[in-house]
């Protein structure tokens, strides 16, 4: 039953997004605007710190973009009092979190389909091409981490009055290790001297982060939404 509930909850999120376009379009516009600002801020060139600085900018922009989307996470449930209906249902609370994390991850991936090519065009056009396979893996792993942490924190913040303030305060400190891992892994996909072992180590770090926050989310969400 939980599997069917999970699928129905994800489908619901996707349907609402397709009809309302509340999150993905806003996130895409935000991340592209951030790149334009960085580009103008740097005087139209590549950042002085090279590839590492560029990928740092990429992930900072993505984390802030994700936060924009997370501000709308559980917004409908809160604004229309739908939580009471969901919580009365015989479904493990963790399923609500997992479904939302999954939709958030899909929204992030959709945004990155636009954001990543734009980023390369703006900042790394003259550099070597990335290892696309590893890049995609790194992006997916980082997105899973952002979605797992973000959905848990958004659930926590949605219960409070100062949600808009609480969300970044709770989300950003925990996102720091993720940004470090994502920057390192993404930089590795561009640098030709990166060894296979280093790549594996960086991806492993992101996978470990994901595992930790998937376990936290699964175990803690019940206490976040009840009381």
């Amino acid at each position: 039953m939980s599997r069917r509930a999970f699928a129905a909850l994800v489908r619901k999120d996707l349907l609402l997004e397709l009809r309302g376009s509340e999150v993905v379009l806003a996130m895409a516009a935000f991340v592209l605007a951030s790149f334009v600002l960085f580009r103008f801020g740097l005087g139209g060139g590549r950042p002085a710190g090279g590839t590492r600085a560029a990928t740092g900018m990429l992930w900072v922009a993505i984390v802030f973009t994700a936060m924009l989307g997370l501000l709308r996470t559980f917004a409908q449930e809160r604004e229309h009092g739908i939580w009471d209906g969901l919580l009365a249902a015989p479904v493990d609370r963790a399923v609500f979190w997992l479904a939302r994390a999954c939709s958030t991850c899909l929204f992030l991936l959709a945004v990155q389909v636009v954001a990543l090519p734009a980023f390369w065009l703006f900042f790394l056009q003259d550099g070597p091409p990335p290892d696309y396979g590893v890049l995609v893996l790194a992006v997916v792993l980082a997105d899973v981490g952002i979605a797992a942490l973000g959905s848990l924190v958004a659930g926590l913040a949605s219960a409070g009055r100062a949600r808009e303030v609480l969300l970044p305060v709770l989300f950003l400190p925990f996102a720091i290790p993720l940004v470090l891992g994502a920057v390192s892994a993404t930089t590795g996909t561009i640098s030709p001297q990166t060894s296979g072992l280093h790549t594996l180590e960086r991806l492993g770090y992101l996978a470990l982060y994901d595992t930790v926050f998937l376990l936290f989310g699964w175990g803690l969400f019940e206490f976040v939404v009840e009381d």
Partner: protein, 211 residues
């Protein structure tokens, strides 16, 4: 000891929100098949009582059991037995009536074939493909009723169910409530509306059952 013959048992039920106690030691027993009205002034704790019974919020103190299942420990076993209509419709405004019921059918593990008849039962069969945001308050209440009845609950909890209902909606509600074999607990400011249906009444004042 609570028994399955008693649909609801509350003993010394306290529910706090921060420092404020919305329920301050409620003792209540509802026999299976009974129809109980819960009345009282605004802010007395009626909605909080129903939310605890619906397993939406946990009791802070005291003992609560639904059909013998102690809350919150056995809430997972109690939930399939309870249908809850709250203040709002508890449905997504951006989804159609059919999509909303399909979501809840999945959450309750109910076959999708039950959705059509559920909408028909509340007179919304022709509006199934309309988004809930377009519904009037009365239609939203009907949809809420269809949602709460979808899994054929043994215990129906209704919070001000007559609010916003037109005469057609009231007729539907009366028909549903008159069906035998179900325990019903209704919070209301209009006890007279339930004449001929209710088998008992309690008044809540300041978080306690009034003598």
């Amino acid at each position: 000891m609570p028994s399955p013959d008693e649909a609801v048992v509350c003993e010394g039920l306290v529910r706090r929100f921060g420092e404020r106690a919305a329920l301050q030691g409620v003792d209540l027993r509802v026999a299976a098949g009974a129809f109980l009205l819960v009345t009282g002034p605004n802010g007395a704790g009626k909605t909080t009582l129903l939310r605890v019974l619906a397993t939406v919020i946990r009791p802070s103190e005291g003992r609560v059991a639904i059909a013998g299942h102690e809350l919150p420990r056995a809430a997972h076993a109690a939930r399939p037995l309870v249908g809850y209509v709250g203040h709002g419709p508890l449905t997504y405004p951006g989804l159609t009536a059919l999509e909303n019921l399909a979501l809840y059918a999945a959450l309750y593990g109910v076959p999708a074939e039950r959705i059509g008849p559920a909408l028909e039962r509340v007179g919304l069969a022709s509006r199934g493909r309309d988004v809930a945001a377009e519904f009037s308050r009365g239609m939203s209440q009907r949809l809420a009723l269809a949602r709460a009845l979808l899994h054929a609950p043994a215990l129906l909890l209704l919070d001000e169910p007559t609010a916003g209902l037109d005469s057609g909606g009231q007729e539907v509600l009366r028909e549903v409530l008159a069906e035998p074999g179900r325990t019903v607990v209704v919070s209301t400011h209009e006890p007279d509306w339930f004449d001929g249906l209710a088998t008992g009444q309690v008044r809540i004042e300041a978080g306690r059952v009034a003598a």
